[in-house]
């Protein structure tokens, strides 16, 4: 065997909160500090959109726990996405990664979707792959950063390495320093208000059953991590719609049914993480609920009633609704307590952590902030959300 010309890069040092296991990392993409730093740079760089207006961070904003505050995401050309941007908090642990596609389980694969998706256009890079690579190679920093991140690769500036780097950065987005964590894992009895503690009892009660779907340390669906046995992904129909009385959902958002074609999968979506949920409004896969109080009301009723219009239907009677959505009686104080508990899942240090922020502003040692604009071949619209062409 020929000895490698390159010494192995230093291993990435996880700084995991108490109670958090080591994330699972693909063997072909081990974590290294150089890769993470490159991924972070790419994540925030609008060079990664066809028209130079969008970055990953456009739909995954740190201050919103890496969501975008919109009901449904909007792509770089202004085209609306049928679903809302999922939070990236603890995405390293997700057994699946999107609202309703069980096939996407690797961040490296998922990263390609917004880049090259055409229906809808997100970052709008389909057909512009060579142009993207030219931009990166012409940049003053990227070639060196790719070389350091992928020292064994003779041609490191590639799409494959790009998605590897972004995935590496995304795996570092670990959130585990909320008041809830401080109570649970650090024994800080005063971390939660009395109201939040009452809400916590409700949340984990058999009666409300919230934790049945939003469970575990991520307060989401099934997780994957180092040493864990694989768990089948789960998706749920929560009785949000019942078009025509047969349990149908709007055609642009049929959930798992859109992948499997099985009637029983109609309207089934993944349970997203509730960590930082205070910051990730509006709620549900299509952002159709504005507040946490609305969401609790929905589950208390055991489904949503849409009185009229094209989406009219009584979700409570949906034949496709999960048996877990049974409704429950909860007085106003209980609802307020539950909201207080959900707010205790907010990790302020996560949304303010400079390690996860835009390197143009967070890295004090860097040279002049990079605008990225000079490298782009397309003019950048003035506003952050361009009108649809």
């Amino acid at each position: 065997m020929t000895p490698s010309a390159h010494p192995p890069p230093p291993a990435y040092e996880w700084r995991l909160p108490p109670g958090f296991p080591v994330p699972r990392v693909p063997a072909d993409n081990p974590m290294t500090p150089a890769k993470v730093e490159l991924g972070r740079r790419l994540f925030y760089d609008r060079v990664l959109s066809g028209n130079g207006t969008y970055a990953c961070s456009s739909c995954h904003r740190q201050e919103l726990a890496f969501t975008d505050g919109r009901a449904r995401a909007v792509g770089s050309t202004g085209e609306p996405h049928p679903r809302g941007a999922l939070s990236l908090a603890n995405v390293a642990y997700g057994a699946t990664l999107t609202w309703a596609d069980p096939r996407l389980a690797r961040l490296e694969d998922q990263a390609r979707v917004p880049m090259f998706n055409e229906h809808p256009v997100e970052l709008g890079l389909s057909g512009r792959e060579d142009e993207l690579l030219r931009r990166l190679r012409a940049d003053e920093d990227y070639p060196g950063m790719f070389t350091v991140a992928f020292p064994e690769d003779p041609d490191p500036v590639s799409l494959e390495n790009l998605t590897r780097a972004i995935a590496s950065f995304e795996r570092t987005l670990i959130s585990g320093d909320s008041p809830y964590d401080r109570l649970l894992y650090r024994d800080e009895a005063g971390a939660l208000s009395e109201s939040a503690k009452r809400g916590m009892r409700l949340f984990f009660s058999e009666r409300l059953n919230c934790s049945r779907c939003h469970g575990g340390f991520t307060l989401s669906g099934p997780v994957a991590f180092e040493g864990a046995r694989p768990i089948a992904p789960t998706f749920h129909n929560t009785g949000l719609y019942n078009l025509g009385g047969d349990g149908s959902y709007p055609a642009d958002n049929p959930g798992l049914f859109g992948i499997t074609g099985l009637a029983e999968d109609m309207g089934r979506f993944r349970a997203p993480t509730l960590r930082n949920v205070e910051l990730t409004a509006p709620y549900m896969h299509d952002g159709s609920m504005r507040t946490l109080a609305e969401v609790i009301e929905h589950y208390a009723r055991g489904g949503r009633v849409v009185a009229d219009g094209p989406l009219a239907g009584d979700g409570r009677d949906s034949p496709r609704k999960s048996e877990l959505i049974r409704g429950f009686d909860l007085d106003e104080r209980g609802k307020a307590d539950l909201v207080e508990f959900l707010k205790s899942l907010t990790d302020r240090s996560f949304v303010g952590d400079p390690r996860f922020g835009d390197p143009r502003f967070a890295a004090p040692h860097s040279a002049a902030p990079r605008s990225g604009g000079a490298r782009l071949t397309a003019p950048r619209p003035a506003g952050p959300h361009p009108a649809r062409p």
Partner: protein, 232 residues
């Protein structure tokens, strides 16, 4: 409640499959380190191999002692109970001799340190137990049996704050051991309520409240290891 019962069933079921040695303190019989030839003449044993022999012998005595103690607890008369308890203590002393020799032959043998601590604790030597538990944890800070049984030794010495810290370490690292320690803590509360000794009643009350809170939190939140097997 169902989840609590589920956890209890899981814990007891998993313990039922363990050999007696493991159920007693976490240690299990060790295979001898390799290095011996299958051809005669048999080479002289290394100190590490000798340590394993003493360790395994110690576990046998310890298991016998634990069985005798269980028998004593169910004895029909006080005389019978005392007799069985005395026998158990003798077996623990034999275990201590063997396990101590194992730790001397191999000073890095953290499992032997931990099991020696268990045997010492069972004979009432809490200070001696703490010393060897400390050694076990310093040799392997992640060895949860030693962390748990050291905490039980803390309880024996009424050092409840240190026991609480140990619980929190186990809560994040080994929930089964954390549950076990919580049960021991509940036992300590009951005992100290009956026989407070020099402890202030407030201390027992405060600790009891803490145990209750942690029990509720543990019941609400599944552990990482549980999630691996959970049916969603």
């Amino acid at each position: 409640m169902q989840r609590l019962l589920g956890i209890a069933v899981l814990v007891s079921a998993s313990f039922a499959f363990l050999p007696p040695a493991l159920r007693a303190s976490g240690g299990s019989s060790m295979p001898r380190p390799s290095g011996t030839s299958s051809m005669p003449p048999a080479p002289r044993k290394t100190p590490e191999q000798e340590a394993v022999d003493h360790y395994n012998a110690g576990l046998k005595y310890r298991d016998k002692a634990v069985a005798l103690q269980k028998e004593a607890a169910q004895a029909g008369s006080e005389k019978e109970r005392a007799k069985l308890e005395k026998k158990a203590q003798k077996e623990f002393e034999k275990a201590i001799d063997e396990l101590r020799t194992a730790t001397e032959k191999n000073p890095m043998f953290y499992q032997a340190c931990s099991d020696l601590g268990f045997a010492l604790r069972k004979t009432g030597d809490y200070a001696g137990a703490l010393e060897v538990y400390d050694r076990a944890v310093s040799l392997n800070p992640a060895y949860s049996p030693a962390i748990e049984y050291r905490a039980e030794a803390y309880l024996g010495l009424d050092r409840v704050e240190e026991a609480k810290k140990a619980y929190m370490a186990l809560f994040t690292g080994d929930r089964g051991r954390a549950d076990e320690l919580l049960q021991a803590m509940k036992g300590w509360v009951e005992k100290r309520r009956a026989e407070p000794g020099t402890l202030a009643p407030d201390t027992v009350q405060e600790f009891s409240r803490w145990v209750g809170q942690r029990e509720e939190l543990a019941g609400q939140t599944p552990s990482v290891s549980e999630l691996q097997q959970r049916k969603w």
